[in-house]
């Protein structure tokens, strides 16, 4: 039996998903991207879109913990999966170590690329809690920032990684 999704017309799919810990259920057009679903259906406008070619990294979110370009990822594909966006990073009033390190290090200016950088950095630190500067450069090379010149971002990720490991920074 094919678990064919959607109506007879076939242009929509039924999904049940968890976004930032909240459950959602509903119908989405197959052509709807995850970025559009998050922004327009769920009102989670923290996720931005820029190049639409998976190159700039602005729209990065995590699906089942893995980073994806939400501009080129079908909303229908989050059925049964868990999505994390920038809005889910903080725990209540307490910002995530990465968020605080980005602010401290002036690792953003206009901030448009920042949600993507934060989510990619989270994915990096989850697989590699103690990355070297070169490993950070390699992993985040697919994210573009046009404001900062990147060095403050590298510093922020290193600092957040140390905090998350409990090493602390002076």
């Amino acid at each position: 039996m094919s678990s064919a999704t959607g109506s007879a017309a076939g242009s929509t799919s039924e999904i049940a998903t968890t976004v930032n810990g909240a459950a959602y259920r509903g119908s989405v057009a197959n052509r709807t991207t995850l970025a559009a679903y998050l922004r327009d259906e769920l009102g989670l406008k923290g996720t931005k879109v820029s190049c639409e070619l998976q190159v700039c990294g602005v729209c990065s979110v995590l699906v089942d913990g893995r980073p994806v370009s939400s501009c080129t990822y079908l909303a229908a594909d989050i059925d049964g999966r868990t999505v994390e966006t920038v809005e889910g990073l903080a725990t209540g009033e307490r910002m995530h170590e990465l968020q605080r390190a980005f602010v401290r290090n002036f690792a953003l200016q206009c901030g448009f690329c920042t949600p993507g950088f934060l989510m990619m950095s989270k994915a990096l630190l989850e697989r590699n809690p103690d990355p070297t500067e070169d490993e950070i450069r390699e992993y985040l090379d697919g994210n573009i920032c046009r404001c900062t010149g990147y060095q403050p971002i590298i510093a922020a990720v290193l600092e957040a990684a140390a905090e998350l490991r409990g090493v602390g920074v002076d």
Partner: protein, 264 residues
């Protein structure tokens, strides 16, 4: 903006095979397909999602080969212990495909089926003498890379066929892969490997329409100038044909030098 399309999620390969046709196409990571659809280059009426078929993501080893399910992502290939143990050069290449998101979304099968000429994997798998397994309701076919990739964005896969897996004969060759990459895809990529039988093989990719394979009994038999004479690159935004020929020579020499020194 994506066009409209139907989307199905078969539970196993047989269901996939019943659905595929000229307008209904396999869909996995979407890193190539969805972009082509956004740009209007491809307008399939339906996508068949392969991501929820575990069999297509399996990576296994037999006496004679490492078999990688076509639905395994680049990241899964790079992090799999069998690949790390038996094909470290593939690990190195897979760690540098696209960017971290492309590696976590894109699959090895999608990469091969799209047959984008500027692909690291096309060159490396040709160097590995890999084969691909195609399946349809009509039966199975096993093709060598050179038989499978016919030209830019053109493979021998029939519309009703599914790329099921890639097999790399064991023991996997060792050697080196080097590339010049300024933008998102390599301008030239060169694999230089020594096969289990002791043959030296050089494969030049990205700069040519399909990978160019040259082999010899020893590294001294690899004639970089001869390879440069054989490649016929086209001038484009990534470089003139003249420059691409020049760097082909540079990277062939670099790859051979590394392989001679016994790189992975």
């Amino acid at each position: 903006m994506l066009p409209e399309f139907t989307l199905s999620r078969p539970a196993d390969i047989d269901e996939v095979l019943r659905e595929l046709n000229a307008d209904v196409v396999p869909y996995a990571g979407g890193t190539e397909l969805l972009l082509a659809m956004k740009m209007g280059l491809l307008v399939p009426s339906g996508l068949v999602d392969l991501k929820r078929i575990p069999a297509l993501r399996e990576i296994s080893a037999s006496e004679s080969a490492i078999v990688i399910g076509a639905g395994a992502t680049h990241d899964e290939v790079a992090r799999h212990e069998l690949i790390q143990a038996h094909a470290p050069l593939l690990v190195q290449v897979e760690q540098n495909v696209g960017n971290a998101r492309v590696r976590s979304q894109g699959t090895i099968g999608g990469n091969l089926c799209f047959a984008e000429p500027r692909s690291d994997l096309l060159a490396l798998l040709a160097a590995f003498d890999a084969t691909v397994l195609l399946r349809s309701v009509r039966g199975d076919r096993t093709l060598a890379m050179a038989e499978f990739v016919l030209g830019p964005y053109w493979t021998d896969r029939a519309e009703d066929e599914l790329l099921v897996s890639v097999a790399i004969p064991r023991p996997c060759p060792t050697g080196a892969y080097v590339k010049l990459q300024v933008t998102e895809r390599p301008t030239v990529g060169v694999a230089a490997v020594r096969t289990a039988a002791g043959r030296c093989r050089v494969v030049v990719g990205s700069v040519t329409e399909v990978p160019l394979v040259v082999a010899g009994a020893s590294w001294d038999d690899i004639d970089a100038d001869g390879i440069v004479a054989q490649v016929e690159p086209v001038s484009d935004i990534a470089g003139s044909a003249e420059y691409k020929k020049h760097i082909t020579g540079v990277y062939v020499r670099r790859a051979v030098a590394l392989a001679r020194d016994g790189a992975v």
